[in-house]
């Protein structure tokens, strides 16, 4: 070990037993995967499931974007169009974005990063995955049966009385999947409280772990409200009892309040994990300790807390009182502050670093750009008179895609490339990975930037036919989507290739700190051959008095840690 990481972790290097004995070789049958309680395998089960859903959601949107090349509604029927964008929303939100980073990398890395053998409730963890699968089956069943056309927001009274689609199966799928994310969150919080290895104090936790902690808290407190909301909506639809029906004294705005009480925090379920990933990667490739560690923690906690009090900004034109609009607008400005501080801190982390530009870092730079852009347009939307004009237009569509796709999905790919060697023990082709990262960035901007412009010009969202003056923007957007599609498909190819042909990674190919890098790649079934002990704060990329050294990783290599 170099003197730089010396003292950071007491890590006894057991002679490697080789690739034979790791979590992947610990049982090779299909059954051993389906009944596994190993958090790493469950993470991979999630990864495979959400990949399937990512492509289902992407195909739905590909058809929509093709249809939108022309102003006339010519490729599919109105109903099919509505079902496709609903499918895209439901699948991407609940079956990809929400579980994306927490259920895959969270599951895989969280115990490793805190030096634990597994999560607190391994069997519950597996149950979560099965709940996810059952929810997924409901959703697929709903698609096969004929789909649902309410939009992912299920607004009443359309969903509860007027829609001809299969609303209840879709809601049931979301309901069940919700419990999967609740149980995952519960598991993570308990794990972080109970299973930190000796010396891993709260303020020595890697920021990704803090991200998982705050995300889990939001999952636990927000998701049940969605579950009840969908239950009430389904009860109205199925039994005909009045709940949100305005003709019988009910209030459709109550549905919206309850729905957004979950669905706004859900945005933070998607973005907090991304922030955690980006923090890990910025500090690693800048070779510099994260700037303002404690502020980063407070910011995430702040976002999680304040995020519960901004839901009304989805309803500025829905008919709530002007006073409520004012309060929610104010809270939305407040919640922007911690996000901005995080952006500044990531930038400052680069200062006086030894920066290298491997693909995970490129994805993170892309994240920084898109997230900052998305966040700033969020300020525009938090301003009431502007939101009155822009809500339910493509401006909003572009805004939340910048955050949720530009932000979260970029971070998802960053995490995938960063931890791939740890998960599989293999290196992927770096040139291809960099190319994909850059392609994704440009494809994304080409897809969504024109949507800001047409949104400001008044193009409403969820429109099948549209006025001809918007066509140029739709054509650009569709072209961008094609590029983006290619950029999403590329990693599938070179990552699969790396599984067989990739170079062996070694335990720590990036010379990163963090306990997950102190064990073999892939890790053994019980994660660590000897339980690690932590004696210092995270991210000891350089000594207190000196900056990072050019020779840093060469020393590491020479000493065989890599």
């Amino acid at each position: 070990m170099s003197d730089i990481t010396a003292g950071a972790y007491e890590y006894s290097r057991t002679p490697s037993i080789g690739a034979v004995d790791n979590y992947l070789t610990h049982g090779r049958t299909l059954r051993s995967w389906l009944v596994t309680t190993d958090h790493k395998r469950i993470g991979i089960l999630y990864a495979l499931s959400i990949t399937v859903f990512f492509f289902i959601g992407a195909i739905a949107m590909a058809i929509v974007r093709l249809d939108l090349i022309t102003p006339a509604p010519d490729l599919v029927s109105d109903d099919t169009y509505n079902k496709l964008f609903t499918l895209h929303g439901i699948v991407m939100v609940w079956f990809f974005l929400i579980p994306s980073i927490p259920a895959t990398f969270g599951n895989f890395m969280l115990p490793l990063m805190i030096g634990a053998k597994d999560v607190a409730f391994p069997r519950l963890n597996l149950t979560s995955w099965y709940l996810f699968v059952i929810g997924a089956l409901f959703t697929i069943g709903c698609i096969v049966a004929g789909g649902v056309d309410t939009g992912w927001t299920f607004y009443t009274p359309y969903s509860s009385q007027y829609s001809h689609g299969f609303v209840i199966p879709a809601a049931a799928g979301v309901f069940i999947t919700g419990f999967s994310s609740i149980l995952t969150g519960l598991n993570f919080i308990t794990t972080i409280h109970s299973l930190r290895t000796p010396g891993m104090h709260w303020f020595r936790l890697p920021l990704f772990v803090w991200a998982m902690y705050t995300t889990s808290a939001v999952m636990i407190l927000a998701t049940p409200v969605l579950a009840m909301t969908l239950l009430l909506m389904s009860a109205e639809r199925f039994f005909g009892i009045p709940i949100f029906d305005p003709a019988r004294g009910g209030d459709p705005l109550l549905f919206q309040h309850l729905f957004w009480f979950y669905s706004h925090p859900a945005v933070y379920i998607m973005i907090l994990p991304a922030m955690g990933v980006v923090s890990e990667i910025f500090t690693c490739y800048a070779r510099r300790r994260i700037f303002g560690y404690s502020f980063m923690v407070y910011c995430m906690v702040g976002i999680a807390v304040v995020g519960f009090f901004v839901w009304g900004h989805h309803m500025f034109v829905a008919g709530q009182s002007p006073f409520a609009n004012l309060v929610f607008s104010f809270m939305s400005f407040v919640v922007a502050v911690p996000s901005a501080i995080k952006v500044f801190n990531w930038t400052a982390t680069l200062y006086r670093g030894q920066i290298t530009f491997e693909s995970p870092f490129l994805y993170c730079l892309g994240f920084l750009w898109l997230f900052t852009f998305g966040g700033l347009t969020g300020l525009v939307l938090a301003t009431v008179p502007l939101d009155v004009h822009l809500t339910d237009t493509y401006f909003v569509v572009a805004h939340f895609h910048y955050i949720m796709v530009g932000g979260s999905v970029s971070a998802f790919f960053a995490a995938l490339h960063y931890w791939w060697p740890k998960i599989t023990g293999r290196m992927y082709d770096e040139a291809w990975a960099r190319f994909a990262a850059i392609l994704m960035f440009f494809g994304f901007n080409l897809t969504f930037f024109p949507q800001f412009i047409m949104g400001y010009a008044g193009m409403p969202r969820r429109y099948h036919a549209y006025a001809p003056e918007f066509q140029i923007f739709h054509v650009l957007s569709t072209a961008g989507a094609a590029v983006l599609g290619a950029a999403y498909a590329l990693p599938a190819l070179y990552l699969l290739w790396s599984l067989r042909r990739g170079e062996r990674a070694g335990p720590n190919p990036w010379c990163a700190t963090g306990l997950e890098w102190q064990t073999e790649s892939p890790p053994p079934r019980d994660n660590f051959r000897t339980p690690p002990v932590v004696v210092a704060a995270p991210y000891q990329y350089h000594s207190e008095t000196h900056g990072p050294d050019y020779q840093h990783r060469d020393i590491e290599r020479a000493q065989g840690t890599v």
Binding site: D78, D79, N82, D149, G151, Y155, P157, Y158, Q161, Y162, P246, A247, R287, F295, V317, G319, S329, F330, F333, A336, V337, A340, I341, N345, T347, A348, L350, Y351, R352, Q354, I355, W369, T372, L376, L379, T383, V384, P385, L386, V388, H389, T391, D392, Y456, A457, G458, P460, R461, R462, Y463, H464, A465, Y466, A467, E469, E544, H546, G547, D549, Y550
Partner: protein, 313 residues
């Protein structure tokens, strides 16, 4: 025709909104440029192996700078909030009285009723320079009344009257959109806002004949209910072309003949299997649970208008 001008400003509020947006964009761009200039400079200067000085961070880079930009962001956020709240408040005190117009939204059309009872469908005629006060309600699901050129939008809720005020400042024709997803033909629930000179509007309003409105309403229903999907001459489905039918003799299956009067049209809508036109398959579904009496009147008025000599009576 202002349709086609993407960013037309046609209400008093539009300029304010655009100014807000411009200022926010400038602030945002400044922040964005600051961050990415720094990122770019750092990435070049501190790329691995460069000669730049490293070492411990200067003291000022610790607490002070963190506290500094925390305070700075808080201040900026509060400032923008205050400014955005204060700006529209200056607009208060519009000249009264406003023109009160009722809007009825339903799947998938906009019905408009002017103060003198003149009605129109999917178009809204307005006088320029007069404050307009819309009283809107929906008959089924939630819709949203949106005129981009006015920068004005409000959701239209069932069983509740919502209000929207604006002051058109520009003569022209502008888009009217439904902005809240409302079902199958959501994207066809569009129309035009026609802003005219005040005297033109007054004249227009006086000469609105009721029957024409009814027929126009029927025409919209004819499309929104899907009748046109089969009865359109260009349709692939084999169904009778309704042009010129009203008031004429229709040959039925089994050799009978009827005159296509109001009762016949009404029966054909509600009980389509009763009288099948010769040469056509009985494929039309009954609309008895779909349309109400008022709507049938409108449809009949529309079908009557397809026979020129009949509608002239």
């Amino acid at each position: 025709m202002e349709i086609g001008n993407l960013f037309a400003e046609a209400s008093q509020n539009a300029g304010v909104v655009d100014l807000d947006f411009l200022v926010l964009t400038i602030i945002s761009m400044a922040i964005f440029l600051l961050v990415f200039t720094l990122v770019l400079v750092f990435c070049i200067r501190y790329r691995r192996g460069s000669n730049a000085k490293r070492g411990r961070l200067p003291e000022i880079m610790r607490r002070e700078i963190e506290a500094g930009w925390t305070a700075g962001t808080v201040f900026l956020a509060l400032f923008i909030f205050w400014w955005a709240v204060a700006a529209p408040a200056a607009l208060q005190g519009q000249p009264a009285p406003a023109l009160k117009i009722h809007i009825y939204a339903k799947q998938w059309m906009w019905q408009v009723e002017h103060p003198n009872g003149a009605r129109e469908i999917n178009t809204l005629h307005l006088p320029v320079g007069t404050p307009v006060h819309l009283l809107m309600t929906s008959q089924d699901v939630i819709h949203s009344f949106y005129v981009p050129a006015f920068r004005a939008k409000h959701d239209v809720l069932p069983d509740r009257i919502v209000e929207l005020e604006f002051l058109p400042t520009k003569i022209g024709t502008f888009h009217l959109f439904c902005a809240e997803f409302c079902g199958t033909a959501h994207s066809q629930m569009t129309g035009q806002v026609i802003v005219m000179r005040q005297e033109d509007y007054a004249h227009w309003r006086e000469v609105q004949p009721q029957s024409e409105t009814l027929a126009a309403e029927g025409a919209a229903l004819f499309h929104s209910l899907g009748c046109s999907g089969c009865h359109d001459p260009a349709s692939a489905v084999h169904a009778p072309d309704l042009r010129g039918v009203f008031g004429h003799i229709v040959q039925l299956q089994g050799g009978r003949q009827v005159v296509a009067d109001e009762a016949y049209v009404r029966d054909s809508i509600l009980l389509p299997d009763k009288d099948i036109v010769a040469g056509f398959a009985p494929i039309m579904p009954s609309f008895s649970n779909v349309v109400n009496n008022g709507q049938i009147e409108s449809l009949i008025a529309y079908i009557r208008s397809l026979s020129p000599q009949e509608s002239a009576q």
